[in-house]
């Protein structure tokens, strides 16, 4: 473990972090050792986000650092074993709505918190959610939407999940622009989350993590 690397990532020193990773990779440090440090740093970043000291600039930069580090260590990573996850979350912006920033942030925070996340993207029809629940088998489904038009489509999506007989298998959370508790009741979801940290807390609560 390199505390230096963890600190560099967690303190948003991008240049230092990448230089350290290159140095470690060149001197033969195993990829999983580096990735464990990255994970430890992401935990710190998640905590700071939760405490309200980090915001979007830090989350975006953390995502960038992670991608660049992955690109450096990936060539040596091919044979590594599959990662263990807290649980699975299926996420997407409902049909008719093409906003993705909030959803992407939630996806990123769920991933760094240890979830296996399948992101269906934007403008996702209800049937696509149903099909993905069958194949991906998530414990949690996250529906995102920015506009008032998403109220009806979220309700339609929850109903489709119900009709397919899958409602009992999943917990459903909603979030985005004009969403609130009243909308949660209307669409028949299990919870509304105000931000990415709320989504992580909800998902952890449901999978017992």
């Amino acid at each position: 473990m390199s505390q230096q690397l963890i600190d560099a990532i967690a303190d948003m020193r991008e240049g230092d972090a990448l230089a350290l990773v290159k140095e470690m990779a060149d001197s033969g440090v195993k990829p999983f050792v580096i990735l464990n440090d990255v994970k430890a740093a992401m935990d710190v970043i998640g905590q700071r986000y939760e405490e309200g000291t980090y915001f979007l600039p830090e989350l975006m930069l953390a995502g960038e650092m992670m991608n660049q580090i992955m690109a450096i260590v990936k060539p040596a990573l091919a044979e590594s074993a599959e990662e263990e996850h807290l649980g699975k979350v299926l996420i997407g912006t409902v049909k008719g709505d093409i906003h993705d920033i909030g959803k992407d942030i939630v996806t990123f925070m769920l991933k760094v918190s240890g979830f296996d996340v399948l992101d269906l993207g934007v403008d996702v029809p209800e049937q696509k959610f149903v099909d993905a629940i069958k194949t991906f088998q998530p414990q949690v489904v996250g529906l995102s939407g920015f506009l008032t038009l998403a109220f009806d489509q979220m309700k339609t999506t929850v109903e489709a999940i119900e009709k397919a007989g899958l409602r009992d298998q999943v917990k459903i959370m909603i979030g985005g622009g004009q969403m609130d508790e009243a909308v949660k009741e209307f669409v028949g979801a299990d919870a509304y989350g105000k931000d990415a940290m709320a989504a992580v807390k909800l998902a952890k609560g449901w999978v017992g993590g």
Binding site: E14, L56, L61, G96, I98, F151, Q178, V183
Partner: protein, 439 residues
Amino acid sequence: MDKLEAAFERLLSPKGPDGNDVQFQSAEAKANYQASITRLRDAIQLREPDRVPVTVLPSMFPYLNAGMTVEEAMYDYDKCTAAFKQFILELKPDMHIGASAPGPGKFYEILDYKLYSWPGHGVAPEHCYQCNEAEYMTADEYDLFMMDPSFYFRNFYLPRVFGALSGFSMLAPYTSILEMYGVAFNFVPFALPPVQATFQKLFEAGAEALKWAMATGASDGELTTLGFPTILGGFTKAPFDVLGDTLRGTKGIMLDIYRQPDKLLAAMDRLVPIMIAMGVGAAQQTGKPLIFIPLHKGADGFLSDAQFKKFYWPTLKQVILGLIENGCIPFPALEGHWGSRLEVIQDIPKGKTAWMVDQTDMAEVKKTLGQNACLIGNVPSSLLKLGTVQEVKDYVKKIIDIAAPGGGFILSNGAFFDEANWDNVKAMVAAGREYGVYK
């Protein structure tokens, strides 16, 4: 008389596009018009009017509610303005924002607008247009942008967001046109087929824009003669949102805060006079002083307090002050939640601005920002769509009790909405008139 007072005086005796006094359709219409303007004037200048002014600030609701799709509203200007007129006649608000929200669909088509998806072009007919966010300005283009923002917009940004404007990228800077020697070289690009194709499209697009502006302008004019004022002159933006919304994008600007903060700050400084001129110019052109400023990336959760104070607020404040100096009424919209920013943004001149409040707690806003500024809001979209009539009335009563004392409050919905229960919208307006009377 200060410039704001002069602006209200002009509003009280409105002129038509021909420069002559507006002919109201009845003495009652004139009286209603002047009563509404006086109400708005008092509210904005933090005095108690006869009652709380009431307005409704919709996005696509008037058109959907009339049984049209958004697509129809964007392509049939007469149908669009007729639906809006019906909406205003039914609600009789103290001010309105005109029928321009749908915009001219055909115009976007002619120019191959890529920044948005709209009905028939990536969005269903019944849904509102939505922005396609991307890095339309790349991370390494700050210096180019700052050297000459107009040149940058014409030659780089516009060709990226309008497919039909690709010919602009071949044009020489206007600032090279100096003296006889060499002057003609600057005009050679106009002979090139891609440039000529771009200009052909511009003529076509201009004609379509004019057709649409005539329809919405005539609609505003007619509503004025019927006694329903609009005081909205145009819009401008916070420099941080100019860069963060449509140039660098959310991710781009958030990374710039760490990777090139000095360039970001310098670019925002460069934008301050440009954004002031944008608002002042619109107010002069329309004769209406209210300048809308939609606020996006300063909301709770986007930036830390320190980042907000360093990157978002200083240049926004300069734009607000510049507008005020020129007799405009800045009309910033606090979209989403802004509870953590109130202490900072309350530092503005008293009685010169009007702020639209969305999901921020009205009591908190009144205690802070509301001491210096008129507040507009904040009946939630979810309540208008999903609540009962009684719940809407109760909410209106509650926020009037909180925000109306001392003046400085205009009752309205909190966010531009597409979908709602019509009975709830009517109940909001009726409750405002009922509970909003000052005794």
